[in-house]
Every structure is written in structure tokens, then in C-alpha cells.
Symmetry: C2
Subunit: 335 residues, 2 copies
């Protein structure tokens, strides 16, 4: 397939076209994805998430610039990494959602051939968005990008889905986002490998840093007192302690430290064997998703449209519960 060859050779136009085909779920795009799949598995996939107002986009922007200019580590002579950015955030300036003012200097990124930016068109159903994002990240991986930054807005299923497709999850916070913001951390901490307090020059930054540290310590204590977790930790050689890093993204402060922390996390994943565990969980989840989707399509294709509509009418009339109606649909006894 010609377009696949061109994507593998680094043709940006072919890449952009293929991504659009995949976003639109065109058969040609999905076929190309199958052909590209053996070339995947080399990119470091990094999810960057957090509430609106934390400055995620600036952080992603600066991190991409840093990786292009300095690579992962300032100590080593590491090479500049090619970076793809996928913005799955309706509030991101990358995805064109920030219509009330885009304060980020996007021109720093545009024009650099080592950076590729793709924003997801905002849709009603975030489920389809997550599905398309998975496929697009695979294509970017096959296309040879060393780093894929996946930016998404915090909270909800989309975030969990993004976390599932990333090797390293960076959760971004900022001071002054309201009283009960701390509370949400309980859920987010479960998926965070690295915590960032952006806008660390604002008043209250010290409190936010301390609060996150406190929550992490509490979580650490809980883990230590859980015998199962203990045994598991002993089995893996090292235990990852999520660092809490202050940054001021718009000034570039703390970005080198963030890059270093991400690099350290990747090394931890490789050394501890957790990389393989995460990959396995990610692929299993993706396949289960596809199986559900394809079984549904196959089922509906093999019967008249009226069958489902009749069952729907019965439920709307409260004559049957949804679960019962669906069971009867599958067993082929309706009416």
C-alpha cells in the first residue's frame, strides 16, 4: 500500500491524510493501520492531564520544545527527540477550542520538522474520541516519533482511557483552583506517575505542593500496610515514588526537571518489568473494546432493523426492562 510506505518514510502529508482517514473510521485507514502495526512499539507515550486552568497546553508546548532542543537529559549528550502532540482536550489551543483567547505562542512549535501536532476534532461522544485516539497514536508510533505527548482534560472516562494508552502519566495541578480541588486528587493519584504544580510562581503554590506531597505520603502508607501490595513491591525490584515538581511553564522553569523525571520513569518501567505489564493490560483492554464493538456490528447486520426498534418500543412502553429486552433480542425471541 503506497500510503503506508510514504508514512514509514516520514512523509508528513501522507501521515496527516492517514490520520484523517482513521479519525473518520474509513476502511482504507483501518487497513493501513493493520499494515503499520508491526512497526509500532518504539515510542514513549506520555499522557498529560489535569483540570482546566492548570496550563497543561503551555506545559506540553514547553516540554516538546525542550525535548527538541535538549533531549531527555541535560547531563548526557542525548539526541533531540522527534515529538508528536495529540491534543484531546476541548479547551486546548491545539484543538482550537480556546476561542476566548489563545495566549500560548504556538509559533515556537510550528515550522519545526521534528514536531508534529494533531488535534482531535471535538465530538459529542468522547467514547469515539478515545477509540480514534488509540488508533492515531499507533500510527504516530509506526511513523517513527520517539515521543508522543497526549494532552487531555482531567477527570472522567476520557482521562482513564488516555491513562491506559500512556506509558507515563503526568498529572498537572496549579495553585488557587478552589477549595475542594484537593479532593479530586484521590482519584487522579491512582493514575499519576508524575505530579506537576504548574504556575508555581502564584501565591498558594507552596500549599498545593505540600498538599500533594501529603496525599502521596498517605497513599504510600496505605500501600505499605497492605500485605498484598508489600509482596508485590518486593517482587518488583524498585518501587516508583511519583515526584511532585513545581513548574512555571510560560517561563520554561522546571521543564528540564520534568523531562528528566519522565525519562527516569521510563527507565523504571523497563528495569522493573512493569513496562511489559502495562503494555499487556493496555492491549487486552483495547482488544476487549474492539470485540464488543465488532460483535455488536455483526449482530445488527444479521437481522432486520425493525427487530431492535420493536424491542426499543417495548421498553419505552415500560412493558419490558432494557436488560430483559436485550436478553430476548440475543436469544432471538421478541414480541
Amino acid at each position: 500500500m503506497e500510503s503506508v510506505e510514504r508514512v514509514l518514510k516520514g512523509d508528513r502529508l501522507a501521515l496527516a491524510r492517514l490520520l484523517t482517514q482513521i479519525e473518520n473510521e474509513e476502511p482504507s485507514g483501518l487497513e493501513a493501520l493493520s499494515t503499520l502495526y508491526p512497526h509500532t512499539g518504539r515510542a514513549h507515550r506520555i499522557g498529560i492531564t489535569g483540570a482546566p486552568g492548570t496550563g497543561k497546553s503551555s506545559l506540553v508546548n514547553r516540554l516538546a520544545l525542550h525535548l527538541r532542543q535538549n533531549g531527555w537529559s541535560e547531563q548526557t549528550d542525548s539526541e533531540a527527540e522527534s515529538v508528536a502532540i495529540v491534543a484531546v482536550d476541548p479547551s486546548s489551543p491545539f484543538s482550537g477550542g480556546a476561542f476566548l483567547g489563545d495566549r500560548i505562542r504556538m509559533r515556537d512549535l510550528y515550522g519545526d520538522p521534528g514536531i508534529f501536532i494533531r488535534s482531535m476534532a471535538s465530538r459529542g461522544a468522547l467514547g469515539g474520541l478515545a477509540r480514534a485516539t488509540v488508533d492515531m497514536v499507533e500510527v504516530l508510533d509506526a511513523a517513527g516519533f520517539a515521543v508522543i505527548l497526549i494532552e487531555t482534560v482531567g477527570a472522567g472516562q476520557a482521562e482513564v482511557d488516555i491513562a491506559r494508552m500512556a506509558h507515563t502519566v503526568v498529572v498537572v495541578d496549579a495553585p488557587g483552583l478552589g477549595d475542594d480541588v484537593q479532593a479530586i486528587k484521590a482519584g487522579i493519584l491512582e493514575i499519576a506517575d508524575i505530579l506537576v504544580v504548574n504556575k508555581a510562581d502564584l501565591p498558594g503554590a507552596e500549599n498545593t505542593l505540600r498538599a500533594l506531597q501529603l496525599v502521596l505520603e498517605l497513599a504510600g502508607t496505605a500501600q505499605r500496610t497492605n500485605p498484598d501490595a508489600k509482596a508485590e513491591n518486593a517482587a518488583s525490584k524498585t518501587v516508583w515514588q511519583p515526584p511532585v515538581l513545581p513548574t512555571v511553564a510560560i517561563q520554561g522553569d522546571g521543564i528540564a526537571e520534568l523531562a528528566q523525571a519522565i525519562h527516569n520513569h521510563r527507565e523504571h518501567l523497563d528495569l522493573s518489568g512493569e513496562y511489559a505489564v502495562r503494555e499487556r493490560a493496555r492491549v487486552r483492554n483495547e482488544m476487549e473494546d474492539l470485540l464488543r464493538q465488532q460483535l455488536m456490528a455483526g449482530f445488527l447486520a444479521h437481522q432486520p432493523e425493525s427487530t431492535f426498534e420493536d424491542a426499543l418500543a417495548m421498553v419505552l412502553a415500560k412493558k419490558k426492562a432494557p436488560r430483559q429486552a436485550v436478553r430476548e433480542l440475543i436469544e432471538g425471541r421478541n414480541g
Copy 2:
């Protein structure tokens, strides 16, 4: 079934037990749900969503109290409504997530027999949470609660799911939640029937109110210049214009106006015929969801576990793309 009888008679203990069974997806609970289903369809289901820090929980609390004391409207002699609260928000004090300080006086609600509060245990997968919430709301509806308040944290799939199961969606905002918060409104506005600016006594409240009004006007203009939307609006007798209401929930300010607006929206739904349209879309979506889930369970039950595991191994070895492997699984040719 005895437990069903008891739930229909208003037995709170039986209700709480049934909800737990349903949350745990126990067969007895799902069977009871089928028996209860013909009794559903009377409750007004209200989704209340917004970012952390907006004071959603206080608002829900106050709204519930108001409905108990005054009913929907201060003008009429409306009866006090029985209210159920379902908290699907990890940061909500109802769901026990706000471990860094619960500032809301919950005792105002506890002890009132006309109020029932249920929080969803926080889980890794919000998908399962949304599924269980749907079922639990059906049970509360059948149990005779006139109003069901579903509180959820803003952004993401969970929010969209909650919006799908609600008749009226209230989106809560607050001043001072950061620069790019406005941007996210683009997505949230699509699901909002009523907008609330809580903490309206804080500096910046006027700006937030104006910004939301502006966004609504822009959205209104877009609708008017779209000929399809125009025709559709002409067909339905009235067009709902989402109001933007200031509140100070902890002082109870603006709560009566919010209750009135929700009541007005429900009247609009009934008069315009949109109620039936929403119900149809909601039930259709729920049935498709169940169909996917049950087809998957049925498929996996009819073959050895190793079949799926073998396919997974092929994908992990990059020998097959996930989509291809799943297609072959369904067609029964593996290896």
C-alpha cells in the same frame, strides 16, 4: 419478590440493600430491577455537573433542602417533593472523597425521611460506574422519589453519560477558576439546560456571568444561521434558552430561582414534545450499551479462555494488529 414489594412500599432498608446488590451487579438485584421497571418514568432526573471548586455539593444540598421545604415554586402552593441524591463525584462529600475537609453541613439533610442520599463507591473504571448509576436511578424512580439529583464532576465521558440519563442538566461554574476555564464551556454548553454561577459573591462573578452569557449568545447566533436548526426550532413550538443564574449556595441565595428554572425546563420539555425525544434517545443508548455488553459475555462464554489469550499474545508480539486479531476471533479462525 419480597424485596421489590418492600421497595415499592417505601422501605428504606430494602431500598439501600437493593441498591447495593445492583452496584455489585448481583443477579438478584438485576432481576428485581426488571420487576420494578414498569414502575419507573415518574421522577424528574436532574444532572448537576461542573468542575471541582465550583461548590456543586453545597448547591445540591441546598436545592434538596429547598425542594423539601418549598417545592418547585414559591408562587404556587406546590407540595414538598421527595428527593433522592446520587453522588457520582469522587470529590463530593456525599461520596466520602473530600478527605481534606468537608465544609458542608450534611446534617441538614440526614434525618429527613423525604431525602435519600446514595453515593457511588469510587472505582477505577468510570464506565462501570455510569452503568451502575443508570440502574440505581431506575430503582430510585420506581421507589417513588419525585426528584432525583445526580451529582457528577465536570468534563469527560462520565459527564456525557450522566447528561444522557438526566432530563435537565445543570452546569455549575464559579468565578476565579483560572484563565482557560472559559474555553471548556464550548463542550459543556452543548449539554447544559441551565447554567449556574455559584460563589457569585466572589470577585470576578460579574465577568463569569457575562462570559457565559456571551458564549450562549454566540451559540444562539450559530443556531439561527443554520437553516436546519431553524426548521427544527420552528417545528417545536418553543425554544429553550438556557438561563444563567447567580447563586451563593452556602447562604442559600438564588436557590429558589434555580428550582423555578428547573421546573420551567421540565414544563418546556413536556410542552415541546422534547421529553419523549430525550427519553427515546436515552433508552436507545442504554439498550445499545447492554447489547454490546451481553454479546461480549455470550461470545466469551462459548469458547475456551485460551482463544482470547492466544489472540492477545499474537498482538503483543506485533504479528497482528488488534482489529485484525479480533476479526479473526469472531470469524473463528485463529492461530
